[in-house]
């Protein structure tokens, strides 16, 4: 069979231009920032691709001096670890029960959790500020942990429930026959089988905790509980003249997300697809 070639190649040129443009604007700005983060202020201002003074690592040192980045980094790491662990623990339990057992309020509780997807985060800004203050968690890493754990509920419960549904019921039944209780069956039979769901939900939760900015800004003050994205805010307002250090800070905030994404790309993609299709 002979295939006609001409109509296809007609589309090839605009498609090619489109793709090249998309790639350029997607990665270009970040590469430019990466490059600028090891340049001196003068090199940045002249926009050359040459490094007249070699690679200027000093920017990274300066970044750590200008803003308390170490403190912010520690907060980010702690909040992210706890936010991921708590969310996975709480939601694997809830998703397991919701996908495995039928009881009166099941559909209601499912809809209740899914409702979170309908509410724009910005509308919750002020009410959360008041309630977090009321329970004494303002300017406390635990305030952010509680908020992030809850923000991840709709997506996590969806990813996990749909995975639990694919595990054959016979696995648990044989465990019950062998005399294992509810908790033991869940911990020993179900959890190990659900590792892929934990990976996917965990990554979505990681990105949420690591990247979140507006609540980190609103629910904290000073340096005690603030996270890395808020550090960028400092660079923008107070220390805007040391461009090199500012670029270094952008790289420092972005790199963990990029590393996690490149290592676990498959899970991120399936997580995004699952999280957006909703329950």
């Amino acid at each position: 069979m002979k295939t006609k070639k001409s109509p296809a190649s007609l589309l090839l040129i605009p498609a090619g231009i489109f793709l090249v443009l998309i790639i350029l604007i997607s990665i270009g700005p970040f590469l430019w920032v990466l490059l600028s983060s090891v340049k001196t202020n003068r090199e940045i201002l002249t926009f050359s691709f040459r490094f007249t003074n070699g690679v200027h690592w000093q920017n990274y040192v300066n970044a750590f001096k200008i803003a308390p980045i170490v403190r912010y980094f520690q907060n980010s790491v702690f909040i992210t670890i706890m936010g991921v662990l708590l969310n996975l623990t709480v939601m694997s339990m809830a998703a397991y029960v919701l996908s495995r057992f039928s009881f009166r309020l099941r559909n209601f509780i499912r809809a209740f959790f899914a409702m979170g997807l309908l509410i724009p985060g910005a509308a919750l800004l002020l009410p959360l500020y008041t309630s977090i203050k009321a329970v004494g968690l303002y300017n406390n890493v635990w305030g952010l942990i509680v908020v992030y754990t809850a923000f991840g509920i709709p997506v996590s419960v969806f990813i996990m429930s749909s995975y639990f549904l694919t595990i054959p019921k016979e696995m648990e039944e044989s465990a019950y026959i062998d005399g294992a209780g509810f908790l033991k069956t869940f911990a020993i039979i179900i959890l190990p089988l659900a590792r892929p769901a934990f990976a996917t939900a965990g990554i979505m939760q990681f990105l949420l905790c690591w990247n979140e900015f507006q609540f980190a800004l609103t629910l904290t003050t000073g340096h005690d509980a603030r996270t890395l994205p808020v550090a960028l805010y400092y660079f923008k307002s107070a220390f805007a003249s040391d461009y090199g250090a500012m670029f270094a800070a952008i790289v420092l905030v972005s790199l963990p997300s990029i590393i996690v994404y490149s290592l676990l790309q498959k899970q991120v993609v399936s997580g995004l697809a699952a999280g957006s299709v909703k329950g």
Partner: protein, 288 residues
């Protein structure tokens, strides 16, 4: 209560508690206090629809509402189209497909605070590459302060999210992968061109992905605040103000809590309305 029932309650309780504290209590709070006068210095008092009235006659709110609606429409059309076209191009497994998909995701993976900072620098009038490139290709005296100039700020802000439609592309790609190859082979045998296959076969089959993607794209415009804080901060004047930023400023700078929550209610209602309208347009939940 049987043992199983007790475990069901125990397993659900922490999730429900957390969710109630963060979502349910907040929603009750937003709706309830939106009908009150509530400032940081005053006692809270009922004032009916006073806040809503104050909002609708304020220039700032009108601009924020208008911008939010324009951004919702732009995102539901141009942004979605970019994602779908990207998915169609990269669906043919060529050497560049995986690379392109990975790169396209990058802006969606970064913290939006970092992304905002990135673009703030890219559009910087002194050293940003945008001005430098325009100067290089001709106009030597070109010098625009993109985020501070009333004519360009809206465009510069829009460019920080409009092209980055990787999530739409992922949804479309997942749907495309589910279509049987037989259909395309049959079309090729019948003499269909590449364009016809895309336009007449793939696009109609993507209806659900396009619908879901449009809902995501539209509602994402009700969240955008961090990029605005990092770039134009709603200015110059109120040129790039939107509802989320207005809520933040009303609450945290003016400390007018009742007014901010009235704005929050409007934000929630716009979100629900957008979802309803888009569902209607794409007649989702119906099979193709």
């Amino acid at each position: 209560m049987t043992i199983k029932k007790r475990w069901i309650v125990i397993f659900l309780f922490p999730g429900i508690l957390l969710f109630s504290f963060v979502y349910l209590a907040s929603i009750v709070n937003v709706f309830g206090t939106s009908f009150t006068t509530w400032r940081i210095t005053q006692a809270i008092s009922f004032n009916g629809v006073g806040n809503y009235f104050t909002l609708f006659v304020s220039d700032k709110f009108q601009k924020a509402l208008g911008n939010s609606l324009i951004w919702i429409i732009l995102q539901s059309t141009v942004h979605v189209a970019i994602g779908i076209v990207f998915a169609l191009i990269t669906s043919r497994k060529k050497w560049y497909s995986t690379f392109s998909k990975t790169v396209f995701m990058l802006p969606n993976i970064l913290s939006s605070a970092a992304l905002g900072m990135l673009f703030y620098n890219v559009f910087n009038p002194m050293y940003g590459p945008v001005n430098k490139i325009i100067q290089f290709f001709g106009n030597k005296n070109f010098n625009v302060n993109w985020y501070a100039n009333a004519d360009t700020a809206f465009f510069a802000v829009t460019m920080t999210w409009l092209p980055f439609a990787a999530i739409i592309a992922i949804l479309a790609a997942a749907e495309l992968a589910a279509i049987s190859d037989d259909i395309f082979e049959a079309a090729v045998i019948d003499g269909a061109s590449e364009f016809q296959i895309n336009w007449r076969i793939k696009l109609p089959l993507l209806k659900n992905a396009i619908g879901t993607g449009t809902i995501l794209a539209a509602t994402s415009m009700l969240q955008k605040m961090d990029i605005l804080i990092m770039t134009s901060n709603g200015g110059p004047g109120n040129q790039t103000m939107n509802l989320p930023l207005l809520i933040y400023l009303t609450a945290m700078q003016d400390n007018n809590f009742g007014l901010a929550n009235a704005c929050g209610v409007i934000l929630i209602l716009i979100g629900l309305a957008s979802i309803g309208i888009i569902n209607k347009i794409y007649r989702m939940n119906e099979t193709v």
